[in-house]
Amino acid sequence: MKGLHVIGVSHAYGDTQVLNSVSMMIPAGELVCLLGPSGSGKTTLLRLAAGLERLQHGQILINDQVVADAHMHVPPEGRGIGLMFQDYALFPHLSIIENVTFGLFGQPKDKARRHAMEMLDQVGMTAHAENHPHMLSGGQQQRVALARALAPEPNLLLLDEPFSGLDTNMRGQIREETQSVLKASGVATVMVTHDPEEAMFMADWIKILGNNGSILQSGRPHEIYYHPQHEFVAKLFGLMNRFVGVVKDGYVEIPIGKVGAKGMDDGRRVEVLVRPEGVLLESNGANGAPLDVVSTHLLGHDNIVRVRLTADNVAPEERNLYVRIHHTFEPELSKRITADVEADYAFIFPLDGAGDVAEASYASTPQPEAAK
């Protein structure tokens, strides 16, 4: 099958195991992001696929051809891959068109130049063909790097943090353009990033690598965000409000409501993680948990509000919450504000680490005694 096939790959640097039996299949035309913290092995996996490191254990195939296993190693230039790095890696002494034609060796010069110009056209850089890299902005250099990587029509494209050198505005634009060019090319693409938002934006599928060097979860961005299977995955996407509770009659009571814990045994001690957008604030709410607003922080498109639950029976470590609100938030001092939980953003994990995440479901309107 066309694409990248990684089977049971393990890799260590000395005594440090960085990849632990990783397997994945990336069909042609799909873009998969490897997302994980520093040291989770994502760049090592990319380098192994590229042939920049020798494989110690497992097997790697590109378009059904074995390119690496414990006994053989096809060098990078024999794998039909395109590479794109954070620092663009353009040759400073070559013009833009020469940079793009560099990988087209073996082709007649005219044909290579014509093809390179077509690639530059795809990324909107034909006007800069005779310039040198130092004359271009970071975003323009990244466009050229993409054209150069795709020009030889690779079987597989490997991107290592390709947008991290760009400023925020440029990053958004370039990644959108890159995604569009990659989709049109139909090449299987693996992108390494530590930025969850970038992975959500770019990927058809995301694979989360944990600190133990194994894949913790794999799925569509929506699935990873709304159905995290591990506490680690849930926490990757930023701030979390954490509560501890016990499953009773299929629910867990937390200070801001009740969350369904389908499939978990009664009496089980669990932690409940609630995303800031899963805490709903209401003015003059009848049943929610009463609170004081501590501070609001406008982030442009939304607000992060820090609140403090005021009911007497709330544990000190569960009083302070983060709330995300997608509109301007100006609390009216005269009104009582309360908090409620939105179950789509609440995730339950057993504290003994032995079981699955429960599928959270909202227990209708929380009972007043449960919310206090």
């Binding site: 096939h5 397997s23 994945m24 069909p27 799909e30 195939l61 599928w205 699955d356």
Partner: protein
Amino acid sequence: MVELTPSFLMDYESLDKEHQALADIVNLVVEAIDGDDAGKCKTLLPEFVKAAKRHFANEEALLVKIGYPNVKKHQKHHRSLNTKMDHMIEFANMAGENQLARDSLRRELVFFLMDDIITTDMDFKAFIEEKAKTGEA
């Protein structure tokens, strides 16, 4: 179309047969979508899900029988696939009328079979091979 080339074989007859049976259903779905008969997906997907769940149960029983040390992890992985299968059923139900549902279903299903099911099973291929040598599998 999906073809189980050698790197997708477990070299264990019953598992390979079940993977092939799943691939056959995936190919019927792809054919139905390409042949302008996507309404068929509504009946094919439940068939796929049923076959997948049967495969998971058979595989788990085998792994328990031969003492595979990571059997719990694999069982957990199987359970985590339920949400994906629910989504694909939704796409299949809409495939007759909706182009986006057809496109999503085709891509999801191929990825699901090749990555989530077969490639993940490769984790215990070597273990099964060892057990087969001693007659335990």
